[in-house]
């Protein structure tokens, strides 16, 4: 992933959105960030030919309308979308959620920490990893 590749954040909690934006700024990640507040509107975003194609999706699990796991099922069943790496960002410590997420081929599962500093530390590691990793050309 390059520093200008778009990232899609699917998150309904406004404060968690603020946290992520601020943290991206703090780790000096300049990638354009697109935000949708549930699975359904995230799918609409992906379907819309005018939206940029995200190269990384950061996904909350507990959301209204369509939750993260429902979204993941649809995403991973699609021949184009299934290639986009998804990192789950959640409060859920449930083994069941972890298991289902990995059965749906997530690229990571991060439990949102209590403090902002811990969050920045975790986000930096994720970000550096995906900056380092080659990603298939998702435009095709």
């Amino acid at each position: 992933m390059r520093s200008f590749d778009p990232i899609l954040l699917v998150e309904d909690d406004q404060l968690d959105v603020m946290t992520l934006k601020r943290a991206l700024k703090d780790i000096k990640a300049t990638n354009p960030l697109y935000i949708r507040s549930d699975g359904e509107s995230a799918l609409e975003f992906l379907r819309d030919p005018t939206s940029p194609k995200p190269l990384l999706i950061l996904l909350d699990l507990n959301m209204p309308r369509m939750n993260g796991l429902e979204f993941l099922k649809i995403l991973k069943a699609d021949p184009h979308w299934c290639k986009i790496p998804v990192v789950v960002l959640t409060t859920s410590q449930e083994e069941k959620d972890r298991l289902t997420s990995f059965q749906l081929s997530v690229a990571g599962y991060i439990i949102k920490p209590l403090t902002y500093d811990d969050f920045v530390e975790k986000l930096l590691i994720i970000y550096q990893y995906w900056r380092l990793s080659e990603i298939p050309n998702l435009m095709n």
Partner: protein, 373 residues
């Protein structure tokens, strides 16, 4: 029973038996009976399925299929009315099977049967069935409420964490962004707030862990406690100078491995936490008593006053002021819950400044020592 008329269905291939039953029921003194009669297995099955009678009398011999088979089939179909099996003299094996399969009573036909006996058997069967149904309903309600409570603890604590994280983040940002405009007192207040947020988060985690113990089931397997306890000790990485000894060869048992791990880990961590001397000792061992294992974990720590012996097993109860301790008071509550799930008991003996010994039992029952098919 509507308007004190008791509706009885007789399923019997012999018309003579029907006539005898009808005459007996006509003689009844306490209750008016209305008797219907079908003479074969299939019609019996259909009629019972309609659930229009208060009690069923089943003859054992029914041509095709027998009364016992009909009994088993209608009970499997959810029949919740009493069924009385009519048998021949000396069929004690059938009588036994009938009761085991859920019949309310059995009556021997012929010269031993009388109007009084039949009436009494029907009345008692209806009464018994009624209280049996009421009990089943209570158990079902209790199970539902219990499940709700388990889910509730989980959902509440889960949903409480999100806003808490928000509070933590905002207090961080206020210090970072506006710290230069706050005086020391203002900063100190935010720092105190951060501490309380942390504590609340720990408490919520405690509720989550505690509720998970009863909620999440794991497959049971053969667990070698000797190996498991050694693993736990390695995982805890006890401080240098502390001696931990396993005194006896611990048994193997059938259990959920994670629960057993949690059980020993919490007891051992607890023992380590309250050892205040550099050269403390912890001993783990067990003995086999009549029908159960009794385990002990003893330490040479600070000890517990006797008046607190019960309190320490309650959730969120600690003996040290909150501000001086990292403890949330969940560990021993979880230990107690696990022991009780396995139908054991837990208690403590202790002397101030001498140390504490925690004892718990696990029953040696077939399902604890043999793999169930």
């Amino acid at each position: 029973m509507t308007a004190n008329i008791c509706k009885v269905l007789l399923i019997d291939d012999d018309e003579d038996d029907y006539i005898v039953a009808r005459d007996f029921l006509d003689e009844a003194e306490q209750i008016s009976f209305k008797l219907n009669w079908v003479d074969n297995f299939d019609d019996g099955l259909i009629e019972i399925g309609k659930n229009q009678h208060d009690v069923y009398l089943l003859d054992f011999r029914l041509g095709k299929g027998n009364g016992l088979e009909l009994l088993e089939e209608v009970i499997a179909n959810g029949c919740n009315k009493p069924i009385i099996l009519l048998t021949g003299l000396g069929d004690s094996e059938i009588d036994r099977q009938a009761m085991a399969s859920g019949a309310s009573d059995y009556l021997v036909k012929g010269k031993f049967l009388s109007a009084t006996l039949l009436e009494r058997s029907i009345v008692h069967a209806i009464e018994r069935k009624r209280s049996e149904n009421r009990q089943l309903q209570l158990v079902a309600e209790l199970a539902a409420v219990n499940q709700e409570l388990k889910d509730f603890a989980y959902i509440v604590s889960h949903d409480l964490k999100a806003p808490l994280r928000g509070i933590a983040s905002i207090s961080d940002w206020v210090i970072n962004d506006y710290g230069d405009r706050l005086d020391d007192e203002g900063k100190d207040m935010l720092r105190l707030m951060g501490g309380r947020v942390r504590r609340m988060s720990d408490l919520i985690d405690g509720v989550l862990q505690y509720s998970r113990v009863g909620r999440v089931k794991e497959e049971k397997m053969m667990v070698d406690l000797q190996i498991l306890v050694q693993d736990v000790i390695d995982a805890i990485a006890p401080p240098k100078g502390l001696k931990i000894a396993i005194d006896t060869e611990l048994p193997k048992l059938i259990a959920e491995k994670t629960r057993m791990h949690q059980l020993f880990q919490n007891l051992l961590s607890n023992a380590i936490k309250y050892i205040d001397k550099p050269d403390g000792e912890i001993h783990i061992g067990h003995s086999e008593k009549n029908g159960f294992w009794e385990f002990y974990i003893s330490d040479t720590g600070v000890g517990i006053e006797e008046r607190h012996f019960d309190k320490i097993f309650q959730i969120f109860q600690t003996l040290v002021p909150r501000d001086q301790s990292e403890s949330t008071g969940v560990g021993l509550a979880i230990v107690k819950k696990i022991v009780e799930i396995y139908r054991g008991k837990i208690w403590v003996k202790s002397e101030i400044n001498q140390g504490s010994t925690f004892y718990f039992t696990l029953p040696i029952t077939a399902d604890m020592i043999e793999v169930q098919p």
